[in-house]
């Protein structure tokens, strides 16, 4: 049946139906009045998503690969077989036509979305982005006609496995570096203790490690954290606040309590700190015991 190498694969079923794979995006009707073109209803999952996110479909390609079955009764059945992970990841970045934007701040391993009407970036979570994607897939399944097989849209594409893969891809597609919220940037984010707390959590994960025999004084940890904040172009925190933030994080991560009987090697004086913990180099910040 296949006449040339370039033609799409065609399958013949025993019930006189032909089937082929397609990558078909939604196209507005080529009428001069585009206002009317908007009302051309999508009939396939790829059309539904590329109608909602035309710019993303142009850049990242067709949302799904679909199997089209021409049945003997003259009707077509559409079955979305596999999603385009790049497309689904990219649409989580938001629709500019509504003023939406979502980024993944690499240094903090944190998602932010541009909220309205404040126009301030606020933190959000991987789980919430997953919820949005699942809801979009659900709406797509609900709004399309019965000529579409909906099982994959409802179950497979909304499974933890696929959603996790999309979110993982989104981290690189929507990545932003620390200059995104730099002082001279037009992007503003919710400021407050929670930003420092998140950074402190990342600091504990990346800069601290358990090492028997080592000592980390609170003073040293504070100095390193202050350098770390400088790198992120963030204002420093007060030492008392740092102590309140870090102590529970270290206890949770390493099961080590803050002690007041540590002898500072440099001054030979008693001070606060942790036994069996050391700070190492993190993103250019030199650590020390």
């Amino acid at each position: 049946m296949v006449s040339a190498a370039s033609t799409p694969p065609e399958v013949i079923h025993d019930q006189l139906t032909t089937a082929k794979l397609q990558l078909k995006k939604w196209e507005p009707e080529p009428w001069p009045n585009l206002q009317y073109a908007k009302y051309t209803k999508p009939t396939t999952p790829s059309e539904w998503f590329s109608c909602k996110f035309p710019d993303h479909a142009r850049i990242w390609g067709c949302p799904f690969i679909e199997l089209v079955e021409d049945r003997a009764d003259g009707l077509k059945k559409i079955n979305p077989l596999a999603p385009n992970l790049d497309f689904l990841a990219a649409i989580l970045g938001g629709d500019e036509r509504m003023g939406h934007k979502v980024i993944h701040l690499e240094g903090e391993m944190q998602w932010y979305f541009l909220d309205q009407p404040s126009s301030i970036f606020k933190p959000t979570t991987t789980e919430k982005l997953g919820n949005l994607l699942r809801a979009l897939l659900m709406r797509c399944a609900e709004e399309l006609p019965d000529s579409v097989h909906k099982l994959n849209l409802f179950l497979e594409f909304r499974s933890d496995k696929i959603i996790k893969a999309v979110l993982h891809r989104a981290k690189s597609i929507l990545a932003a570096d620390h200059t995104f919220f730099a002082v001279d940037s037009k992007n503003e984010r919710l400021k407050g203790v929670e930003v420092h707390e998140r950074l402190a959590r990342v600091f504990v994960e990346q800069a601290l490690e358990r090492e028997p025999g080592q000592i980390l004084t609170l003073t040293n940890a504070y100095l390193i954290f202050t350098e770390y904040l400088k790198l992120k172009e963030m204002v420093p925190v007060r030492r008392s606040m740092f102590k309140g933030m870090l102590a529970p994080l270290v206890r949770d991560a390493f099961d080590l309590g803050l002690r007041n009987d540590i002898i500072d090697q440099a001054t030979q004086k008693q001070t606060a700190g942790w036994k069996g913990l050391r700070a190492h180099e993190v993103e250019g910040v030199a650590g020390g015991a």
Binding site: P28, K38, G94, D95, V102, Q116, L129
Partner: protein, 59 residues
């Protein structure tokens, strides 16, 4: 006649604006976290203003 046409145009635009705004809020609500201060409902004027602000991105 002219007044009627302007009124209809405004109603059309308001309908488009409200539709887009509802879609926008539907999506944003998935990303928001519940707070003690719920989002205030928008007036027609605010929705229209928001719509016009983002219209240059429309097809």
């Amino acid at each position: 006649m002219n007044d009627n046409s302007q009124h209809e145009q405004r109603l059309d635009q308001l309908e488009q604006a409200r539709k887009l705004w509802l879609e926008s809020e539907w999506r944003l609500n998935f990303l928001r976290t519940e707070t003690g201060t719920p989002t205030q409902p928008r007036t027609e004027e605010e929705i229209l203003q928001w719509y016009q602000q983002h219209q240059h991105h429309q097809r």
